[in-house]
């Protein structure tokens, strides 16, 4: 035994160490490979295949059941018979086939000859034309001759070609007499079994097999795996990865495998079909999957293929819990652009759809935008492209309307006076309710009231004429149109204007009376229109509205204001611009009233009251809130969550801010004037949710202009009109533009409802509409509802007329008001028609009070100035077509006239005659017209 070589290490131990590490490395490698190949998305794809296989099997069963077995049997019998025919005639078929082959040979030859000749001819013609054009007559003549020489040959070739074609077709037909039946029947059978074959194909596609498993096996899955990452590369869009932009790649369809497949609407997620494929994803939809991708609308990390890293965002804490359990979901902390939860996905519509009042099919976004307009958010928060009006009443003359005491009590908490008010609460909120702040709040409120009383101009007011009758006032309020904007005494169809409650505890009779008579006298910019009330009517309404008191509010006393707090606040404002000593000097120079007024002006500036109200001295003040133009893409790190425990997302922050605007001050120590100052609107959860969607939609768009919805000039004009219609609440009364007149819901007799304006642009003349909007005159005197005088500017009126035209697809402005070509004959025949069809029975100039309003109709004297001549023709032809459900009966059913003796009984001619007659119709000449009619009737009587 050789002596053991002395060594520095033990060989045995080394072997063991190598073996162990080798083993560990192997296990590590295997583990690594397995780990690498076992991916979340593969599991989903396997599940999808299993689901689809199951579905295909059900489909197979269904399609098999659908096949009519009897018919199939019959067809198979027929096929057998047809086949035996073929066998019987095999010799003939063979012979015919041989002949056909020969014919085909000849056919090809003839065809080539003919085509060659044609080409030569075309070529020569080209040269001939070239030379002729260059006046090289000699050469041209040569080619001309060639052309003529070849003409005969060509004609003959064509004839030959046609002959052989016919011969070939005849032979083919001959063969078909034997074999045609077989082909036909087997085609039928194939068609019948088509669905089954398709289903079988599907099954084999989704059935797992050993081959597939091998191709999907770890280390081999680079060759041609059936489980693969699926992706959409969106050509025109890019993702912004800070400092680098990359083409948008969305891999969502790796798991959302059925997203664009019809029929998976009820499948479990992630395989469910996207809702509304005609609008989204579909190849004919405006939002094609391959052009828009997924993350353009949904947000999130398009390149990721796991549930968590794709940045799925739950819409509620319940969903978060459910996801954590089901998908092992965790909130991604460091991914800024998370997916939009489904309840806010409409926010993405605004990436491309801008400049319109509403975005089609995005109700929540639209509701959010409507609320933002209604509550005047843009008064403080600038949003580019969203210029709105001041939503609160003007305070420029407030001293003639309210007393300072009322303002003080109102500002304590506006909702205490009127629950439905949109005026938010500004003072005494959660971050300013400590005793020190309460003192300051009281001083601030008194200061604002003092400032407003001092800095507003009085207007002359007129006392109500005579004694007002409240009972009559109530009837007027409920019937002449107040309900088109206001909620009064439990009658509620609209809340465009303030609810008319508690006015007896608010304003003086002379103010209300003067306001009702002429709202623009008190505030030239008010949206409140004039209803052209008589003195008595205005007195009656004043009496009715002032009878309602808010006793609780009346019993409130204004809180005591500590003079030292006022002085203190004044100093703190003054020291902002001067040294403390000078500030004190200045303060001492002011009377207590002046101090109060000074504090008031500073509070108004601080709170930005002028965002909603016109206030003297703040005409050019800039809005005080954060600009929101790009709030939806603002970096998350720039939102101050304070100590509030909510998910770190934009939507959670915005929602919280809307629900409790001062919440983010919780636990913070701040001086009085540095505290958060957004007032409390008391939005419901639904409202706050809708506004959140809207705010999220305010984004810096990354979409190239050519992919955005760009409005053409007509659409822009329509939208301008639409905004005005919203501002003036036209749909409070009128049905137009897809919205039913809101007041209709509380009117029983449809005949009493304000008219439907669909198709108005086609119906009335532009000139008439323009002047009507400027100064309305009654068209339907029986209607108690009055079209108000809004006092539209020329531009607003023009905008509305254009809007109505566009809605009706009437665009040719210059054709307007062209008088129709009436003929004397038509006018003459129109009279008796007018009489015999008894038009005047409903279209009365001075309607009889005994008639119910459902069948009264406009005075036709107006027709010539008001109606478009072409519209009258359409209308008379069949009123139900123009306005379904109208009370106007058709007099020419199925294009037939009931009067055969006038104009040969031709309905079209008669309609024309009535129209022409209307163009000259004057009810004062009725006796003459009637007499003419009577005379005519006598002449034509049968």
């Amino acid at each position: 035994m050789p002596p053991k070589k002395p060594s520095l290490y033990s060989l045995d131990k080394t072997h063991v160490a190598f073996a162990a590490s080798g083993f560990i490395l192997l296990v590590g490698l295997v583990w690594m490979v397995l780990q690498d190949s076992s991916r979340e998305w593969k599991g989903w794809q396997r599940k999808y295949m299993a689901m689809m296989q199951e579905r295909a099997q059900t489909e197979l069963k269904e399609t098999q059941a659908k096949i009519n077995a009897e018919e199939l049997k019959k067809l198979q019998a027929e096929l057998a018979e047809a086949k035996s025919t073929v066998v019987q005639h095999r010799a003939e078929i063979q012979k015919a086939q041989n002949e056909l082959d020969q014919i085909t040979n000849r056919f090809n030859k003839v065809k080539t000859e003919y085509q060659n000749l044609k080409q030569f001819q075309d070529s020569d013609r080209y040269f001939y034309e070239e030379y002729a054009d260059h006046h090289e007559d000699e050469k041209a003549r040569v080619y001309d001759k060639r052309l003529k020489d070849r003409e005969g040959e060509l004609a003959q070739a064509k004839l030959k070609f046609e002959q052989i074609t016919a011969e070939k077709e005849a032979k083919e037909a001959e063969i078909k007499t034997w074999t045609g039946r077989e082909q036909e029947v087997s085609k039928k059978i194939t068609a019948m079994e088509m669905d089954v074959t398709l289903a079988e194909g599907k099954i084999s596609k989704f059935t797992p097999s050993l081959a597939k498993e091998i191709l999907n096996a770890p280390m081999l899955d680079f060759i041609h795996p059936s489980l693969q990452i699926q992706q959409i590369v969106v050509e025109k869009l890019q993702d912004d990865y800070y400092f680098a932009k990359a083409q948008k790649v969305d891999r969502c369809i790796t798991c959302h495998l059925g997203i664009d497949q019809k029929g998976l609407e009820n499948a479990p997620q992630p395989f469910r079909t996207h809702p509304n494929l005609d609008l989204f994803l579909g190849s004919n939809s405006p939002h094609k999957l391959e052009e828009i991708g997924c993350t353009t609308c949904h947000g999130g990390s398009g390149q990721s293929v796991s549930f968590t890293t794709a940045a799925h965002t739950p819409h509620s804490s319940e969903q978060a819990k459910e996801w954590a359990k089901k998908y092992d979901w965790k909130a991604l902390e460091f991914w800024a652009d998370k997916m939009l939860p489904l309840n806010h996905v409409e926010a993405s519509c605004a990436k491309c759809h801008t400049g319109t009042v509403d975005v089609p099919q995005a109700p929540k976004l639209n509701e959010g935008r409507r609320l933002v307009t209604e509550y005047g958010c843009t008064g403080c928060h600038k949003v580019e492209g969203m210029d709105r009006w001041k939503v609160g009443p003007s305070l420029a003359h407030v001293q003639s309307k309210l007393d300072g005491d009322w303002i003080v009590r109102w500002l304590q908490n506006p909702k205490e006076f009127r629950h439905s008010t949109r005026m938010p609460r500004i003072f005494n909120l959660s971050n300013a309710s400590d005793p020190e702040s309460l003192d300051k709040n009281n001083a601030a409120i008194s200061g604002v009231a003092a400032y407003l009383m001092k800095n507003s101009d009085p207007v002359t007011l007129t006392a109500p004429v005579g004694k007002g009758h409240a009972e009559n006032g109530k009837t007027l309020v409920e019937t002449i149109g107040c309900l088109g904007c206001h909620t009064v005494g439990g009658q509620s169809a609209n809340h465009h204007g303030p609810e008319l409650s508690g006015l007896g505890s608010k304003v003086k009779p002379e103010w209300l009376y003067s306001w009702l008579k002429d709202p623009k006298h008190y505030n030239p910019n008010t949206r409140m229109p004039s209803l052209r009330l008589s003195d008595q009517e205005a007195s009656d309404i004043t009496a009715y509205l002032l009878a309602d008191h808010n006793e609780k509010f009346e019993s409130d006393r204004p809180p005591y204001v500590k003079p030292e707090v006022v002085a203190d606040m004044a100093v703190s404002f003054l020291t902002g611009t001067m040294r403390h000593e000078d500030a004190l000097k200045k303060l001492n120079a002011m009377s207590p009233e002046e101090q109060l007024e000074f504090v008031g002006s500073k509070v108004i500036a601080h709170q930005g009251c002028f965002g909603c109200h016109e206030i003297k001295g703040f005409e050019d003040a800039k809005p005080i809130g954060t600009e929101l133009t790009y709030e939806g893409t603002k970096d998350l790190s720039r939102f101050d969550f304070g100590f509030v425990e909510i998910p770190r997302t934009r939507q959670a922050w915005i929602f919280q801010k809307l629900k409790d605007p001062r919440a983010y001050d919780r636990g913070k120590v701040k001086p009085y004037f540095e505290k958060l100052k957004m007032p409390h609107f008391e939005f419901s959860d639904e409202q706050a949710d809708a506004i959140t969607t809207f705010v999220l939609s305010l984004q810096k768009s990354s979409i190239p202009l050519e992919m955005q919805k760009v409005l053409d000039s007509r659409e822009k004009e329509t939208e301008a009109g639409r905004l005005l219609v919203e501002k003036m609440n036209c749909q409070g009364c009128h049905t137009v533009d897809g919205v039913e007149g809101r007041v209709r819901s509380i009117i029983e007799d449809a005949g009493n409802a304000p008219p439907i304006l669909d198709g108005e642009g086609k119906k009335v003349r532009e000139r008439w509409l323009y002047h009507f909007l400027k100064g309305p005159t009654p068209i339907r005197p029986w209607l108690k509802y009055r079209m108000p005088t809004f006092g539209f500017s020329d531009q607003e009126t023009h905008s509305l007329v254009t809007y109505f035209n566009h809605l009706s697809n009437v665009h040719e402005r210059y054709v307007e008001d062209e008088t129709p070509v009436t003929t004397p004959e038509h006018v003459k025949q129109g009279g008796p028609l007018f009489t015999q069809l008894q038009c005047i029975k409903c279209h009365q100039a001075h309607p009889d009070a005994a008639l119910s309003s459902s069948f009264l109709a406009p005075n036709l004297e107006m027709a010539k100035d008001r109606l478009r001549p072409d519209w009258i023709l359409e209308w008379l032809k069949d009123p139900q077509v123009v306005m379904p459900g109208t009370m106007m009966p058709g007099f020419f059913p199925d294009g037939a006239s009931p009067l055969p003796d006038i104009l040969n009984g031709d309905a079209t001619e008669q309609i024309r005659a009535i129209r022409d007659y209307l163009m000259v119709f004057n009810p004062d000449e009725k006796p003459a017209a009637a007499a003419a009619g009577a005379k005519d009737r006598k002449n034509t009587a049968t």
Partner: protein, 235 residues
């Protein structure tokens, strides 16, 4: 196609008639009104002098007409179920619907789907016939000429399609549109008769415009008539 269907239907019904001798069974009955008859209401025709001049006495409101024998007039009685799967050709002769004396005559009328519905104006004033049918296409026809006639049809069965005149708010009528001919309207003595009902089990329904509906199950035997059917409405 339509023609051949009709012919087929005719043949089938003929074959059916031959194999069933009791084809001509008729269902008779009457509609009683339980309780005291309410005081008859009248309508005010003052709105149209032409109408007012037509009548010397105030005209009764036809919403609820109780006959002198305590039965109800204008009750629409029809086979509601029991005829499923059978088709019946619509007769070519029209159902007449007259505007006479500013009333609709009759006030309640039945018509088959596709059967001509002839509307007549016998008054010398303007009437409009405004159909408020929910199943069939609505129409609103002006009829200004005395004696004029217009034919209309209804496309789908409906119990009941309301027809009204917008010019004369008191004027309204109801049309029972059916896919079979087995219906009747109770008369001045409250009686009705549904003729030629094939043997089988049926549900009969009686409809009154203010009192609602009542149903009765009946069996038409293979031979002989069915026992009289009694409907009774309470006030």
């Amino acid at each position: 196609m339509k023609q051949s269907l009709k012919t087929f239907a005719l043949l089938m019904t003929a074959a059916y008639a031959l194999s069933h001798p009791a084809w001509a069974a008729s269902v008779k009955g009457s509609v009683a009104f339980a309780g005291a008859a309410p005081a008859p209401k009248t309508v005010n025709m003052a709105a149209d002098p032409t109408c007012a001049a037509l009548h010397k006495t105030p005209q009764p409101d036809e919403d609820l007409v109780v006959n002198s024998n305590n039965t109800l007039k204008n009750v629409f009685v029809y086979v509601k179920t029991g005829l499923e799967g059978k088709t019946f050709p619509a007769p070519a002769e029209p159902v007449s619907f007259d505007q006479n004396g500013c009333h609709y005559v009759p006030h309640v009328v039945g018509v088959m789907v596709g059967q001509p519905f002839q509307i007549i104006n016998s008054d010398s004033t303007l009437h409009n016939v405004h159909s408020l049918a929910k199943e069939s296409k609505q129409f609103n026809l002006g009829m200004p000429i005395k004696g004029m006639k217009i034919k209309k049809t209804f496309e789908k069965p409906e119990i009941m399609a309301k027809v009204k005149c917008d010019v004369h708010p008191w004027m309204h009528a109801y049309v029972g549109v059916l896919s079979h001919p087995f219906y009747a309207v109770s008369g001045d003595d409250g009686s009705f008769e549904i003729k030629d009902l094939p043997p089988g089990k049926y549900t009969l329904e009686a409809w009154q415009e203010t009192l609602g509906t009542k149903t009765v199950e009946i069996t038409v035997p293979d031979s002989g008539d069915t026992a009289p059917v009694q409907f009774s409405f309470g006030s």
